[in-house]
């Protein structure tokens, strides 16, 4: 597959077109109707959850949030291939993969409400917290890959970064280390065309992102990130390759961030409506829905009913989270060290004396 879609030829893996028509049957992943529907429902859930968090933010109930809108296929396809024992090293825009690993809605809400507890991901086996410094997390993936080989385990690491992240030194160091160490890592670049306001052509002179793999002696492949079947086919292939060959892979998923960078951003300042309309036709849910309708697996009625259910459950859990979260003083202090220094303990005690004084004045 890597030869067939050599990034030097700027080829891209695609299975369905913008109208949901299968254009390369041989690349269609083997899936039952039930599995196909689950992929769609998972994307629909991510989109619903994502949009509701944005609306909670507008209501002042969560802080800054980076929407997934338009990129749902990549995270959901990743989630479909990651096993319990595989590692997920996230960036911050692959919600489908998070949920598949076992991250709860409560944690997603808490993270965006401003609680570190929301990035513990206690129920998500082998998943690191979200990393803010761009691309720095990729080196963690290479290190985990080294540990997997060293411990002779059958595990795979999947690590995410955006197109802007490919300009960071850590991106290149991570690919280089993983290549030298033969670390079982799938590096995924979500090329959503913008790093906040900076278009991808200002990030690199490379013909595409996947070609950067060649400098590190590893394989790379470019995929239509808005085509969930193409994503799934490539992820399955890469997962198998990385496991058996013990070699890292670089996957470029071409997509479009339909929403803002975060809720603090206004994309109308740096992109045109013509461009947005063009990408609307490539929307991953739209395309898959057209595919499903051709197969008579889906309808507007079914969709409306399901979205209603999702919204009710999301809102119920959001309200429950709002009503039960707490941030006691000790939580701001006690996780800094595994073994807390006495001086830090003393700082807390000193502050508690002040709080006692303050409360006594009331």
């Amino acid at each position: 597959m890597f030869d067939q879609f050599d990034p030097a030829d700027d080829k891209m893996v695609q299975v369905i077109d913008n109208n949901g028509k299968v254009i390369s049957k041989e690349l269609m992943p083997k899936l039952s109707d039930e599995e196909i529907l689950k992929l769609y429902k998972d994307m629909l859930f991510v989109r619903t959850l994502d949009q509701m968090i944005v609306s909670y933010q507008r209501q002042g109930r969560v802080y800054t949030y980076p929407p997934n809108y338009g990129q749902e296929a990549i995270g959901v396809a990743a989630g479909a291939v990651l096993r319990h024992e595989d590692w997920l090293v996230p960036a911050f825009r692959e919600l489908g993969a998070w949920l598949a690993k076992g991250v709860t809605m409560r944690e997603v809400f808490m993270f965006n409400m401003g609680f570190e507890e929301g990035t513990k991901f206690a129920g998500a086996n082998h998943m690191l917290p979200s990393s803010v410094p761009i691309a720095s997390q990729l080196l963690h993936a290479s290190g985990i890959g080294y540990a997997i080989n060293y411990q002779k385990k059958d595990e795979v690491v999947m690590a995410f970064v955006g197109d802007g992240g490919t300009s960071e030194g850590d991106f290149h160091e991570a690919l280089n280390f993983a290549g030298v160490w033969k670390a079982p890592v799938i590096f995924v670049v979500q090329n959503n065309q913008y790093a906040i306001s900076v278009p991808v052509k200002m990030q690199t002179a490379s013909v595409n992102m996947a070609i950067k793999s060649k400098a590190y002696g590893i394989n790379g492949i470019k995929v239509d990130g808005n085509d969930i079947f193409a994503m799934l086919t490539v992820f399955r292939y890469a997962h198998d390759y990385v496991r058996t060959e013990k070699q890292p892979v670089l996957i470029e998923a071409v997509t479009y961030r339909k929403g803002a960078h975060t809720t603090s951003d206004d994309p109308t300042k740096y992109r045109t409506t013509d461009e947005e309309k063009e990408w609307d036709l490539k929307d991953p849910l739209r395309r898959m829905k057209l595919f499903l309708e051709k197969k008579e697996l889906w309808s507007d009625d079914k969709e409306k009913k399901l979205v209603d259910e999702y919204e009710k459950e999301i809102d119920r859990q959001f309200i429950e989270t709002e009503q039960t979260v707490q941030y006691p003083l000790e939580d701001a202090i006690r996780f800094t060290y595994a073994e807390m220094p006495q001086d830090l303990r003393d700082q807390q005690i000193e502050h508690e004396k002040f709080l006692q004084w303050k409360n006594a004045r009331k």
Binding site: F121, L128, L139, H140, A147, Y150, N176, A338, D343
Partner: protein
């Protein structure tokens, strides 16, 4: 017991931990085959294998960043930055992740990483080979910072550092790597992190120092003794967490304190020592607390370094001024 210098003591500690704990791996630039540019890891790859003691690509951020991943996956990496002054590309990984992943994951992922740093001046080296950056790391929440001054402490502290579930910056005073020989036990032993040591008891003044400066203070103390002064010398051994109790108890006894460090003076370890003296022993002070530190300048190239380095006579001069105040 065996005669060891700091190089062989560090090597011995690594050898002991590599032998008893399969989760320990040692890597960095030139660390494997060659055994490091200072030969600190010499022979370890041959004994423990290329998967456990190895050369990494030449990238400091990569070395620190991959250690974060290894630690998350259950290993205990001991990484080397070839010189303390080469660590700058790794700052993001150390400050953003090594120091924080435990907090960010609410204790789910511990970061038992040791970062070995040959540090300090006085070796006639190129630029970026002589820095003393302990204060920068001591200021970062989530890190612990250790500086041995003897072969015994180098071995015992490194064993503690490798066994610590918190990340430890382990600064090795390269100027005295081979300058001191000491009889050190070949058995496993540890020196606790966070405990200073009173090296000499005295009554007139407390001198606080660490690392390569201990030997310079001891030379100054010969002059002080001849002049009839009784100096109490404290070797910090750990910069963070700071052993305030030992410092405060000593200052309460002597009423005077002089800090000696080869770091730039402002906002340094010495500044923190001054704060401890004032906050914990204010009413016992009979003279202003004094810092004997380097200038707030970049370490000069070798021909100018003698202007920068702290010398025994300078230390004696300030000890006497403080006592006579």
């Amino acid at each position: 017991m065996k005669a060891m210098n700091i190089v062989s003591a560090v090597n011995d500690a690594l050898d002991i931990k590599l032998t008893e704990d399969k989760s320990v791996v040692v890597y960095g630039e030139d660390v494997g085959y060659e055994g490091g540019v200072f030969r600190v890891t010499e022979g370890l790859q041959k004994k423990h294998g290329v998967e456990r003691v190895f050369d990494s690509p030449l990238a400091e951020s990569g070395i620190a960043g991959t250690a974060v991943g290894m630690a998350a996956a259950g290993l205990r990496p001991v990484i080397e930055m070839q010189f303390c002054g080469f660590i700058y590309p790794a700052f993001n990984q150390i400050i953003s992740h090594v120091a924080r992943l435990h907090n960010r994951s609410r204790g789910r992922y511990r970061m038992p990483i040791v970062i070995r740093l040959p540090y300090g001046g006085g070796i006639n080296a190129l630029e970026h080979h002589s820095e003393s950056m302990e204060a920068i790391f001591a200021h970062i929440p989530g890190l612990k910072v250790v500086v041995p001054s003897t072969p015994h402490d180098a071995k015992g502290l490194l064993i503690s550092a490798i066994e610590s579930d918190d990340p430890v910056l382990f600064l090795e005073p390269k100027r005295i790597y081979r300058a001191i020989k000491q009889e050190v036990s070949e058995e496993k032993f540890s020196v606790p992190i966070g405990k200073a040591k009173v090296l000499s008891e005295g009554t007139d003044v407390t001198v606080v120092a660490y690392g390569a400066m201990i030997r310079e203070v001891q030379k100054a103390m010969v002059m002080a003794k001849e002049a009839g002064y009784s100096v109490e010398l404290i070797d910090l051994r750990t910069i963070y967490p700071l052993d305030k109790e030992t410092i405060a108890a000593s200052v309460k006894k002597t009423g005077r304190i002089v800090f000696v460090g080869e770091e730039p003076r402002s906002f340094g370890v010495g500044s923190e020592i001054m704060a401890v003296a004032n906050e914990e022993a204010f009413l016992h002070l009979e003279a202003p607390p004094k810092r004997v530190s380097a200038f707030d300048v970049i370490v000069p190239y070798p021909r100018g370094e003698h202007h920068y380095m702290i010398t025994p006579d300078k230390i004696f001069y300030e000890i006497e001024r403080t006592i006579k105040f």
